[in-house]
């Protein structure tokens, strides 16, 4: 029944590329999210301003447009920088802007904005009494963050992170448009060559469904762990 006309191994490789892309983008988004949330909650007015500008701009631009801007524009900038360095300082430095990198960068930046909002809400949900208690015990700010803020914040942030992750995973399909050989692009090429769109796109759709289903279970498990110390009402 399942006949991939010899495209099977390539589709599987594409699925691995998709997963790698998704996890790399998630890592970047979580890092940016933590940074952004700290900036939004910090006392510095300029840090708050920059973070607010960032989240507002990101939410106004379609992901595909940003991805193209990074992919096509990033290469132009890189070429200019490389030329400048070579002619003025004699340094030979060049990085090829490949679709994978542009994809990770764009998706990480977009979801970093959503994660910023998630983490901000989660940090605010930690009672200030807890932080004061930590300070009263003589912990420094880093210790308060690592021992008190972060573990308690995580409990409130996990549902939001889970939702963002589900959207992020589906957004990875867009990177096929700028030429990354993920499973969407391979399915598109295969279906064009074999004139059998259903045969290739439906397995890819099922793959996305199972990826979301598996990670949903993982998030549930993490949620249970993070909430282990909470006395439930129901």
């Amino acid at each position: 029944m399942l006949d991939f006309h010899g495209y099977g191994p390539e589709l599987l490789r594409g699925a691995i590329v998709t997963t790698e892309l998704a996890f790399a983008a998630l890592a970047l988004a979580l890092a940016i999210g933590l940074l952004g949330a700290s900036a939004k909650l910090s006392g510095s007015r300029s840090a708050r301003g920059v973070a607010t500008f960032y989240t507002t701009v990101i939410r106004g631009i379609p992901d595909l447009v940003m991805m193209m801007l990074f992919y096509y524009g990033g290469q132009v900038l890189m070429n200019q920088l490389s030329d400048y360095l070579y002619y003025n300082h004699g340094i030979d430095f060049f990085v090829q802007f490949d679709p994978f990198m542009s994809g990770v960068l764009t998706i990480g930046l977009i979801f970093g904005a959503y994660m910023t909002e998630t983490f901000r809400g989660a940090f605010l949900a930690v009672p200030t009494g807890q932080i004061e208690a930590g300070r009263a015990y003589g912990m420094n700010r880093l210790q308060v963050f690592c021992r008190i803020m972060f573990p308690q914040m995580l409990r409130h942030a996990l549902p939001g992170i889970g939702n963002n992750w589900q959207v992020l995973l589906k957004t990875t399909a867009l990177v096929s448009v700028i030429g990354l050989s993920d499973m969407v692009r391979i399915a598109e090429q295969a279906s064009k060559a074999e004139h059998a769109p259903f045969k290739f796109f439906i397995p890819v759709a099922v793959m996305y469904l199972s990826l979301t289903a598996i990670t949903e279970l993982a998030i549930k498990w993490l949620n249970r762990r993070a909430n282990a110390g909470v006395v439930g009402g129901i």
Binding site: P62, V65, Y72, A173, L174, V177, P197, Y208
Partner: protein
């Protein structure tokens, strides 16, 4: 176009009258595509959401499956399946449907509509489920029939609760419509891609289009805020 405007544009290398008109054409395509899919999607979502709340699993089950499939897979895959798949349906090339679906606009419209209808169904379902039981009981006590209750009490109350989430869906749809350019539609993003490849000026082409999208987004946010203030007036504080 006014004289001074075309004169101004003639001095610019990239934003000439031709490219501005190209962007304008893209803008109208994007707005048409998004507006039509949102309107049809909303009209589909209301009955589907009501069916989704029915207790009988043979009624709510298929609707659940539909929303699960369309919310669990990327819109790009849905677009590809419809765009490439429609030509594969046996005999369609002899019917009048082929004249319609040969134009990429309509497969894209179909994919966007089905996608937004799935999301909107879940939004409205959530709002329906959150109806305070007292409202329903009061309506029943007044002797209202099911249809009257739905029309006068449950749906208006649910729409008020759903509007916030729905405004996010509208913005999401505007941004998602950028992928229409992948199936050769010249929407805003498609226009930007054309201009990028003609002048090899990625920043000018894509930043200009990003600014247009941003303006559209803020326009939607503003309109929904006005609408929300109007619909939720009864909840606002008295002295304001």
């Amino acid at each position: 176009m006014p004289e001074f405007l075309s004169e101004l544009l003639n001095q610019n290398e990239i934003f000439t009258a031709t490219t501005v008109m190209h962007y304008w054409g893209g803008l109208t395509t994007t707005v048409q595509l998004v507006f039509l899919s949102l309107v049809i999607g909303l009209l589909m979502a209301v009955p589907l959401a009501i069916l989704r709340t029915v207790r009988n699993p043979f009624v709510s089950g298929p609707v659940w499956l539909y929303t699960y499939l369309f919310r669990g897979t990327p819109l790009l895959i849905q677009l590809y399946i419809i765009y490439y798949g429609i030509g594969q349906i046996e005999g369609i090339q002899e019917t009048f449907w082929w004249d319609i679906f040969r134009d990429p606009f309509y497969p894209a419209l179909l994919a966007f509509t089905l996608n937004t209808a799935a999301y909107t169904t879940e939004i409205i379902r959530g709002a329906l489920m959150a109806t305070p039981p007292g409202e329903v009981e009061a309506a029943k006590a007044y002797g209202m029939s099911w249809a009257l209750r739905m029309r006068r009490i449950i749906l208006p109350s649910a729409f008020r609760r759903a509007i916030q989430a729905y405004s996010n869906e509208v913005i999401f749809m505007l941004h998602a419509s950028a992928i229409a350019s992948v199936v050769t539609i010249v929407d805003l993003t498609g226009a930007a891609r054309d201009i990028y490849s003609r002048f090899y000026a990625p920043f000018t082409a894509f930043i200009a289009v990003a600014l247009i999208y941003m303006a559209l987004t803020f326009l939607i946010v503003y309109a929904f805020r006005r609408l929300e203030r109007h619909l939720l007036k009864h909840q606002s504080p008295l002295n304001q």
